[in-house]
Amino acid sequence: MLSREEVLKIAKLARLTLTEDEIAFYQKQLTRVLGHIQDLNQVQTSKEAFVQHVPNDAESFREDRAAPFANPEGLMRNAPAVENDSFLLPTIVEHS
């Protein structure tokens, strides 16, 4: 079982503030997720068994030609707030 402190550390990395109920909830849920990873660790992935797909030069690279995307405005429309053609976010305070 994940400790309360471990959950709080993960929450901090994810910039989340959790209630007491949520801490208890994530202790259980994250423990289950990690348990699944434990299961995956049993899969045989020695060097011989693990062969990464190695494509040839032609398929792994792109020639350096610029082609502007046709609909950048469409991407902006996904944003909750826009100002001066920029994504507007709440003021960022440098995290320390």
């Binding site: 690279f61 792109r62 350096d64 030609r65 082609a67 950048p72 991407l75 960022i92 440098e94 320390s96």
Partner: protein, 478 residues
């Protein structure tokens, strides 16, 4: 405070944008100064389902840099995700290289003001993508993603530098190499060449490194040197007053000439690096590598050797003239027009660079063009003006950007090479100084110089010096 007791240890990290047409993993233009968020697409804004594809040219430029910096190149390297949260990083991770960079173990040899050379090691070079840009306003943060995904190489030095001057020279040499090889345009104001410095101090003779402080994003060579100098003194002073150096990130305030705390590093960053699953391993075949090597542009040290041979320049002159690509190009253009390498070197180094430095200007905004300087040198070579007058003319050219010929005409500075005209001047001087003439005749031959000087003064320096000398001697002895 006793600075001499301490030794500082400096390592630099440089981020250099690669001069490609398109971004690292998408086809958006790699272009500075476009309207905000116009060079963006699903890939570089981190839209679900989009996939990165590696820009071949970016890899080639990176390999070029590794060759130029005498680095080892690894035929197989791996892209990794560096996870952190910041609004200008839309994917929530930066594609970088971590455990297996494409290049390691290189070096640069830099020239110090003492005349010595120093070899500074390069730990590694790796590829990564740039983040977007945040502008902090009172009402919130504005994010522009035009820069997100622009290709970068990060060049990490060994902690080999011991003072601000060495760090400055390392940066200048690195900058020059990247510019020469057309890898990075080197524009520091636009942030295309950025430097972070790690600095610690320790008692001389000790092995263990002191606690290091990181200086972030300093945008000129001069500021890097000033910031490091300040930081070394600050740390020594703190230690001497019994304080402990805290590991932190600081920035240079160029208005106040001090470094200031940006953030304390209370714990090592947890970037949760892992191999980028959306990209294959980066394979650089030997065939490709050979091809890139074959297409390498000339590097500063090669240009230096060529200048020495072609224009019969000293080691020092050639290294100054090839210290930047712009300067080397300028010099070559001057020689091409006037066909006098030695004179071109003297004029560019002594007169032009001297004045540019004094005015705090770069060769890029010289008021005297290559052809203008060449025309001036030609006038000296043809005897139209003396070297001395040429300096006056050049001063005027530098101030007004006018051609030498129009300045010479306007000010009536043409050299007097007419023997009859000069002879009358010399006679006048001799007649006006009877006692010196008598002394000369009595054997005080040193007075020849006096008569030449007076005649030169009379002609406002415009007399042809060789001819004048000859005439004075002839008339005194007749």
């Amino acid at each position: 405070m006793s600075l001499e007791k301490y030794e500082s240890v400096i390592g630099l990290e440089v981020h250099a944008q690669l001069m490609t047409q398109s971004k690292m993993f998408c086809r958006c233009p790699n272009q500075f100064g476009s309207s905000p968020n116009t060079n963006v697409c699903p890939v570089c804004t981190g839209q679900p389902g989009s996939l990165p594809v590696i820009n071949k040219k970016a890899i080639e430029l990176g390999v070029r840099a590794a060759v130029a910096l005498s680095c080892e190149i690894h035929p197989e390297s791996v892209f990794a995700r560096k996870n952190y949260f910041y609004p200008d990083l839309p994917k929530g991770y930066q594609i970088s290289q971590y455990e297996r960079p494409y290049s390691t173990q290189g070096h640069i040899v830099v020239r110090l003001k003492s005349g010595d050379e120093k070899r500074i090691g390069i730990t590694r070079i790796h590829f990564e993508e740039d983040a977007g840009k945040s502008n902090h306003e009172s009402y919130g943060t504005l994010v522009n993603l035009n820069r997100a995904g622009v290709p970068l190489i990060e060049i990490v030095s060994e902690p080999d530098m011991r003072n601000a001057h060495e760090a400055g020279q390392y940066l200048r040499a690195l900058h020059s190499i990247l510019r020469y090889a057309d890898i990075c345009d080197g524009n520091m104001e636009e942030g295309n060449f950025r430097c972070d410095a790690n600095i610690s101090v320790r008692l001389r003779g000790t092995e263990k490194f002191g606690t290091k402080v990181e200086l972030k994003n300093i945008n000129s060579f001069k500021f890097v040197e000033k910031a490091i100098e300040y930081e070394i003194q600050r740390q020594v002073f703190a230690i001497e007053s019994g304080e402990k150096i805290i590991q932190q990130t600081r920035s240079w305030n160029s208005g106040k000439n001090v470094t200031e705390v940006m953030r304390e590093k209370e714990q090592a960053h947890d970037y949760r690096y892992f191999p980028e699953p959306d990209l294959p391993k980066l394979m650089i075949s030997s065939k490709w590598f050979e091809q890139i090597k074959k297409e390498m542009p000339e590097l500063p040290k090669e240009a230096c050797e060529r200048f020495k041979k072609a224009f019969e320049l000293s080691d020092y002159d050639a290294s100054v003239l090839t210290s930047s690509k712009e300067l080397a190009k300028y010099f070559e253009a001057v020689v091409a027009h006037c066909k006098n390498g030695k004179a071109s070197a003297n004029w560019v180094m002594n007169e032009l660079l001297g004045r540019l430095n004094a005015a705090g200007r770069e060769i890029g905004d010289t008021p005297v063009s290559e052809t203008q300087l060449a025309a001036l040198i030609k006038k000296i070579d043809s005897g139209e003006i003396s070297g001395k007058i040429a300096k006056t003319v050049f001063e005027e050219m530098f101030a007004t950007s006018k051609d030498a010929s129009s300045i010479i005409k306007d000010k009536g500075l043409v050299q007097i090479s007419d023997p009859a005209a000069l002879e009358s001047v010399v006679r006048k001087i001799i007649e006006g100084n009877p006692s010196q003439f008598a002394e000369y005749k009595a054997g005080k031959v040193k007075l020849l110089g006096f008569f030449v000087g007076q005649a030169m003064k009379e002609t406002k320096g415009q007399a042809n010096p060789a001819l004048l000398n000859e005439l004075v001697k002839k008339l005194l002895d007749s």
